[in-house]
Symmetry: C2
Subunit: 599 residues, 2 copies
C-alpha cells in the first residue's frame, strides 16, 4: 500500500477523550475513531490488525477441533427467558422490539442461542463432544464505557461452546482449550497468565481468565512466585491465606489511658469523639488496625446484613455476592445504618447488634482484644472478644487478597501484578442444558442434559492489550504477527529520482515475496514520516535516501530498537523478507503446532 | 474434516417453512437453521461457503483499490436525522434506545456513518478518490421475511463507499466497480447480468443491479436481445417503448348495439351492469383492452390522484412514486373512491372528474375512441376522446414494461427473464455530502461537497442465489470456488480395513495438497451417504470400495454429472488435486486479474 492512497489519518495531538495508552495510540495512529460512547469505527490500519488477531484465533480454534459458524445477533427474548437471564442480565443487555412488538436482545454472549441450536440436532452421545465457535460483533450497554475498545459497547469477540457427555470429557476439552488459548496469545506476541477467576453471571464453577500483563490493566492478579506451584487468581477469586496479625503481646496496644488490657479483660466503652475511620480510631486509641473489627452494613435483596472484617482488610464484594448467592450487594445508606445501629456511620459494631444478619470474614475469628464501634455516636468498645461478646454463625472468605498473603496451595507469600483480561474459559456444567432442556440420549438410552463449556476471546481488546504491552513514548511497537504491515519503506525525498526508483523496486520485490509493505510516498519532510512511522509502529522500517544509495545501501531499523543495519540494495528484499519470516516463525514455531485433533 | 466429527445435520424431509429451492436445500443440507422470522444461524457447512464468497469479494475489492474497515452496527440517530433518513426510512429501520434513552439504528446501510467518518478526516482533493468498504451483518425489519436468506432481517453485506472530487472521477470509478462486480460473480460461478435499476431510498441517479439469472428470482429483467445494444433494466426502471395498439379500424370494436362509432362520434353512456374489471367490460362491450382508459385512484401523501393508463397495461408503482416524487403511494380505499367519483370501485373515469389531480401514462395519449367508467354505478362511457372529453396536463412513463415492448435504445422487441438481485452499485452524487456538510478543499481552495458512490453485495444472498442457479432434484451442485469442500470421499464400508486405509490415505494426501476434503466416515449404508453427498453438493465425489480396490481403483464422479472415472489409487490424489485446481483456475483465470490500481 502506498501511503498517499491509504486512509491513515494520524494525529499529532493526543485526543482529549483518551485515558489509557492503547486508546490514545489507536486514535492517534489512525487505527480507529469514536462514533459514540463506547462505539468505534475501525479504520483500515486498525482493521488489518484486528483481522490478523481473528485469523490467529480461527486457526487455533480449528486446530482444537472447534467448528466455525455464525449465530444471529438478534436473539429472541423467549430464549433468554428460558435460561432466566432476560431478567437477570439487567441493563447491560441491549434490547429492542421489532415492528410486531416482539422483543430481542442484541447478543452479548450466546449460551442460549447455541444451546437452542444444538438442542434437537445432536441426539446421541456418539455425536459428542462437539465444539462450535464464532467470531462476531457483540453488544454490552456498559454504564460507563471507557478506555477505548477495552470497555466498549460494541466489540468483536470469539465465543466458543462445547458440548459433552460428562464432566470428564469437559475437563479434557477445557484443557485443550486452555492450551489453544495459550498458543493464541503467544502467537500474538503477548506476555500473559492464565488465572483462576469468578464465573459471575455466566454460571458454572471453574473458570480461568487469560490476562495480558500491563500496568494499565483493570484487573489485579495475585500469584504464587513459586514456579512449581503456579497458583494465580484475580483478586475477586483469590482465596489466599490472610496473614494473622503479629501476636498481641508484640504489638503493644494501649487503651487511651495507657493500660494494656489482658485478654479476658471485660469490655470497656471509650469516648472517641468524631473518630469514624479505621485510621482515626486506631490513631486515637493507639492500636494497630488488625485489632479493629470493621462493621459494614449492606443491603442485599431487601435484607440488611452486617459484614465484619478485620480493620486492616477490605471486603471484596464479588466474594460477598458469591457468599450470599446474590447478583447485587450495596452498602446501606445512612438512614438505614442509623435505624439498625442507633448511631451515625462510623460507630457500628457487632456487640449487641439486633435484628440484622451478621456474617464475618475469617480474619475476625479469634480476635480476643478487639476494638469496634459501640453503636452509639462517638463511642467505641475495647477489649472485645469474638465468641464471648458477639458471634456470627457465618464465616466466609470475604477479604480482598493482597501482596504478601499466603498462597493457598503452598503458603509462599503471594505477589501481585496488573493485567488486562483478554480471554476467559468456563466450565459451565449443566446450567443452560438443564434450564433449556437440551438433552441427548446416552449409551444406556437415558436422556441427559449436555455438560457444557464456553470460551471467549476479546478480539478487539487483544489488539488494544498488545499496544498496552508493546509501546514507547513515540508510539506502538507491533509484534510482527499482528502488525498492520510487516515493513514500512520511507523514501527520504520523493523528488530524488534514484530514491523513488529504489524504494519502488524494494516495495515490489517485498510484495512479490508475500511481505506486507507500506511505502510512505508522501511529499513530506523525513521528520514527519519518521514520527508517523514510530506512531503506527510497523516492525521494520527501511529508509531509502541519496546518502545511503551513493554507497549502494538502504537503512533498516526494527521499531523499538536503536540498531540500524545497512543492507546492500541488491540483497535488501531477500534479507528483509527472511527477517520477517524469521520473526513470524519465532512467534509460531512449527514444533509447537499440535496435530489437529478432530480434522 | 471427518463427517463423524462434523456438525452437518442433514434432513431427509423438506422443511415446511421453505418456499424456494435455496431455502429448502440450505436447511436440508445442514447449512443453516431458522432462529426467528428472517433470522438464521449459519451452521459450519453454510458458513464455509459464505466465508468463501466473502473472500472473493474482499480480494476483488482490494484489487479495485478499496480499503477494508469496520463501521459500527449501532449508529446514532443524530446522523440519520442529518441526512433526513431517520423519518424517511420507516419501519424497516430497526431502532433501539440505550440505557440513557439515546436512540440508535441497527445499520441497514452506512451512508451516514461513512460520510461522518470521512468528513473532517479527508480535507484535500489530493486525498481523493478514496474508496472504503466493509463486510458486515446488516439489519432490515422486513414486513414479510421470506425465501430464507433472500429476504431476511439479519444478513451479511459488503458495502463500499467512494468519495470523489467530481463526477468524472465517480464515473471512472463506477466503471472500475462495475468490472470488479462482474469478476466477483464470475468467480462465484454465476450467470448474471448487470441491469439499470431504481435508486429508491438510497438517492442518486444512476444505478445498476447485478442479477443472477434464476427462475425463482423476485425481479423481472427486461433486456434487448441485440448483443451490440445491451440494454437491460428491471421492470421498475425499464423505459421500454410500449407498442401502440393496432389501428382501431383493424380491431373491430362494437358498441353493445353493434354499431362501430366513428372517430369523432359523441360520447355515449352505456349500461354495463356489474361490469367492473377490464376483462368484464371489454367482453361485455366487445372491445379490445387497448381501447379502455383504466382509472386508478391513489392516495399520495394526503392528496388524491387519479392515474390513467391504457386497459392492456399495468401501472408500475415504483415509476409512479418517482413521477410524483414520493416514497409511498397506495390505492385509495372504497370510501374515498365513492366520495371522489360518486360510484363504486370499477366505474371511475376521467370525464368530468372534479377535485382530483389527474396524471396519465403515455399510452393514454391520443386515444380517440375509448371506453372508460362513467363515475356512475353500472355505467361506462364509449367514444371517449383524449383531449376532447378529458385531459391531463401530466403525462409520464408509468407502465410496467413487458416482453415485446420496444427497446428504448434500438427499438428491437425486448425479452424478459427472472433474476435475483445480488449486488447494486449507485452513483449517489452529493445527496449525503450536501445534507451532512461533508466538504473538501478543491485545487482552487474552495470548499466542495464530495461526489459519492456506493456499492453493495449481498453475501448471504449470493450463496443462496448460487443454489437457485446450480441444483437438481437431489440437491446442490456447488461451483468449485464457493463449495464448502472441494472433494467428498465416500468409503463404501467402514468395516472393511482396506477401504478405510485407502480412504484415509487419500484424505491425507489431498489435505496435504491444500485440497479441502470431507470424508464420510459414518457407519451408514452407501445409499444414505450418496443421498447426503448429492444433497450437500460437493463438486467431486470419490467412492472407495472393495470392488474398485480389487482392481487398484477408486471412482470419481463430478456432482451433477453421470460420468464416473476410475482412477488408480496411486495417482488419485494427484489427479483429483489437478482437477480441483483446474476448475478453480477456470473460474478465476490469471489473465483476467487486473493490476491492483491502488496498491
Amino acid at each position: 500500500m502506498r501511503w498517499t492512497k491509504a486512509f491513515i489519518p494520524t494525529l499529532k495531538e493526543d485526543p482529549a477523550e483518551a485515558e489509557i495508552v492503547s486508546h490514545r495510540l489507536m486514535i492517534r495512529a489512525g487505527m480507529m475513531r469514536k462514533l459514540g460512547a463506547g462505539i468505534y469505527t475501525y479504520l483500515p490500519l486498525g482493521w488489518r490488525t484486528i483481522r490478523k488477531v481473528e485469523q490467529i484465533v480461527r486457526e487455533e480454534m480449528d486446530c482444537a477441533g472447534a467448528q466455525e459458524l455464525l449465530l444471529p445477533i438478534l436473539s429472541p427474548s423467549e430464549l433468554w427467558r428460558e435460561s432466566g437471564r432476560w431478567d437477570e442480565y439487567g441493563k447491560e443487555l441491549m434490547r429492542l422490539k421489532d415492528r410486531h412488538e416482539r422483543e430481542f436482545a442484541l447478543g452479548p454472549t450466546h449460551e442460549e442461542v447455541i444451546t437452542s441450536t444444538v438442542r434437537g440436532e445432536v441426539r446421541s452421545y456418539r455425536e459428542l463432544p462437539l465444539c462450535l465457535y464464532q467470531i462476531q460483533t457483540k453488544f454490552r450497554d456498559e454504564v460507563r464505557p471507557r478506555f477505548g475498545v477495552m470497555r466498549g459497547r460494541e466489540f468483536t469477540m470469539k465465543d466458543a461452546y462445547s458440548f459433552h457427555r460428562d464432566e470428564r470429557s469437559l475437563d479434557e476439552y477445557y484443557q485443550v482449550m486452555h492450551e489453544a488459548y495459550a498458543r493464541v496469545f503467544r502467537r500474538c506476541g503477548l506476555t500473559f497468565r492464565a488465572v483462576l477467576a469468578d464465573p459471575g453471571i455466566m454460571g458454572g464453577k471453574v473458570t480461568h481468565e487469560f490476562m495480558v500483563l500491563a500496568s494499565s490493566g483493570e484487573s489485579v492478579v495475585i500469584s504464587c512466585p513459586m514456579e512449581r506451584c503456579g497458583y494465580a487468581a484475580t483478586t475477586d477469586t483469590a482465596t489466599g491465606v490472610v496473614a494473622s496479625p503479629e501476636q498481641p503481646s508484640s504489638s503493644p496496644a494501649a487503651s487511651p489511658r495507657g493500660r494494656t488490657p489482658d485478654i479476658g479483660a471485660p469490655i470497656e466503652e471509650v469516648h472517641t469523639p468524631g473518630k469514624k475511620t479505621v485510621e482515626e480510631v486506631t490513631a486515637f486509641l493507639g492500636v494497630s488496625p488488625d485489632r479493629l473489627i470493621k462493621t459494614l452494613i449492606y443491603e442485599v435483596a431487601g435484607e440488611t446484613v452486617a459484614v465484619l472484617i478485620r480493620g486492616d482488610r477490605d471486603v471484596n464484594e464479588v466474594k460477598l455476592k458469591r457468599a450470599l448467592g446474590r447478583a447485587n450487594v450495596a452498602l446501606a445508606d445512612e438512614a438505614v445504618i442509623r435505624r439498625i445501629t442507633g448511631a451515625d456511620v462510623g460507630f457500628a459494631g457487632p456487640v449487641g447488634l439486633q435484628g440484622v444478619r451478621i456474617i464475618a470474614d475469617h480474619t475476625v475469628r479469634g480476635i480476643k482484644n478487639g476494638v469496634t464501634g459501640a453503636n452509639r455516636n462517638d463511642y467505641h468498645l475495647t477489649s472485645v472478644c469474638e465468641g464471648r461478646d458477639f458471634s456470627s454463625g457465618e464465616y466466609y472468605d470475604l477479604a480482598l487478597n493482597r501482596e504478601g498473603d499466603g498462597c493457598p496451595n503452598c503458603g509462599t507469600p503471594l505477589t501481585t501484578y496488573r493485567g488486562i483480561e483478554v480471554g476467559q474459559i468456563f466450565k459451565l456444567g449443566r446450567k443452560y442444558s438443564e434450564s433449556m432442556q437440551a438433552l441427548f440420549s446416552d449409551e444406556d438410552g437415558s436422556a441427559r442434559p449436555f455438560v457444557m463449556g464456553c470460551y471467549g476471546i476479546g478480539i478487539t481488546r487483544t489488539a488494544a492489550a498488545a499496544i498496552e504491552q508493546h509501546h514507547d513514548e513515540d508510539g506502538i511497537i507491533w509484534p510482527m504477527s499482528i502488525a498492520p504491515y510487516h515493513v514500512e519503506i520511507v523514501p527520504m525525498n520523493v523528488s530524488d529520482e534514484a530514491t523513488v526508483k529504489v524504494a519502488g523496486e524494494l516495495y515490489g520485490a517485498l510484495s512479490e515475496r508475500g511481505i506486507e509493505v507500506i511505502l510512505d510516498d508522501r511529499d513530506e519532510r523525513p521528520g514527519v514520516k519518521f514520527k508517523d512511522a514510530d506512531l503506527i509502529g510497523i516492525p521494520l522500517r527501511v529508509v531509502v535516501g541519496p546518502k545511503g544509495l551513493s554507497r549502494g545501501k538502504v537503512e533498516m531499523k526494527p521499531r523499538g530498537s536503536q540498531e540500524v543495519s545497512l543492507l546492500d540494495t541488491s540483497r535488501a528484499a531477500e534479507e528483509i523478507a527472511a527477517m520477517v519470516r524469521g520473526e513470524l516463525e519465532r512467534l509460531n514455531p512449527k514444533s509447537q503446532i499440535p496435530n489437529p485433533k478432530r480434522s
